[in-house]
Symmetry: C2
Subunit: 211 residues, 2 copies
């Protein structure tokens, strides 16, 4: 079993490198957005796409439904839905085939919303420029400690739904310490797609992501 | 790959039947609690264990840390922590080995808090009496549609954190419809471990679970 998993991951690594080459060749910045189900990625994306001053496209990963792709298209941005069935994560070849269906221009940002899952997607490189892990203040400040592989893989952590901080018991300082324990130096930004709190910092971070 | 996954699942099915026999032999009701990370299972368990009029024990599944087992033990109830490393779910043999470390008396309830994940745990029978799937009002009402395998496997859905309903956009009717679409007749209860709203219904459901 372990050797088969290693072979699967090795195959995925090769296909991820092909994706990486494609993104570099096309001049596209790809970001892999990962989180628990319901941490607010699609809502954040809706806001982000409306504020972004670059062309963009989205790949939506879900076990079932094309609800998220429909929400993205309603903002005027192209989106491809990938349904994984019983699968728990996106793999590099799913992204490769989704690229065939997306009209990506040079200078674009490609947001890849992975299957909602703080576990499995951490293991599968998609060829992205950066992994962004969202977690919401309703989930509890210990999540980085309990899902260390995901947070160790991250290049940026976005603490979402900060508008709910007055209504939940969530210790932001403890969350920062948990992130620092799992991966010293990993940056964490705060965002609320509802009140726009923190959106400027997130957009500034995005603006720095260039080919 | 598919045949290997089938063999893994087949092996797990056998070990789950052994667990089922052990539970029947010992006179223990086992419940498999599944949800996204941070849907509030441990907090609900803390409240539940303090209110329960039967002996109980808990198996806590997490990738890392023994925080949840420590929280359970603080209520005076025995708990065993199982760490899965990179693993995304509990398997039947992990439960079997955890049983060796739990002093379970006849008439007890065994709560098994699976790894926080709305995907993979749905596929792995643990030999439990019932699967309880929690989802919180902060996650959005479409989760049953987007994670249908988990909700189809469920015997009960608990909608948690209903104290936050005034502060989030969550349509309870739409959530009920989503549950009914995925699995007609699947019961859904509401609960808040913070305000105790709905706890009586949940305790009544628990009381009906007998060997």
């Amino acid at each position: 079993v372990i050797s088969l998993e290693a072979r699967l991951l090795e195959k995925n690594r090769l296909l991820a490198e092909r994706n990486r080459g494609w993104f570099a060749g096309r001049g596209v910045v790809a970001l892999n957005l990962m989180s628990s189900p319901g941490a607010g990625r699609t809502t954040l994306l809706e806001k982000t796409l409306r504020a972004l001053d670059r062309p963009a496209a989205v790949i939506e990963g879900d076990q079932a439904t094309d609800r998220d792709a429909a929400r993205i298209r309603a903002t005027g941005v192209e989106a491809v839905q990938v349904n994984t069935g019983t699968g728990c994560h996106l793999e590099a070849d799913m992204v490769w085939h989704a690229l065939e269906r997306l009209p990506l221009r040079a200078g674009s940002v490609l947001f890849i919303e992975n299957v909602g899952n703080l576990v499995c997607p951490a293991l599968f490189d998609l060829g992205e420029r950066a992994k962004v892990v969202l977690f919401s203040v309703t989930e509890g400040e210990d999540k980085p400690l309990k899902y260390p592989h995901m947070f160790r893989a991250a290049d940026l952590v976005l603490l979402t739904k900060v508008d709910l901080l007055p209504f939940v018991e969530f210790d932001v300082r403890a969350a920062e310490e948990a992130v620092a324990t799992v991966k010293p130096g990993l940056p964490m930004l705060r965002a609320s797609a509802k009140t726009d709190d923190g959106m400027a910092d997130w957009l500034r971070w995005l603006d720095l992501q260039r080919v």
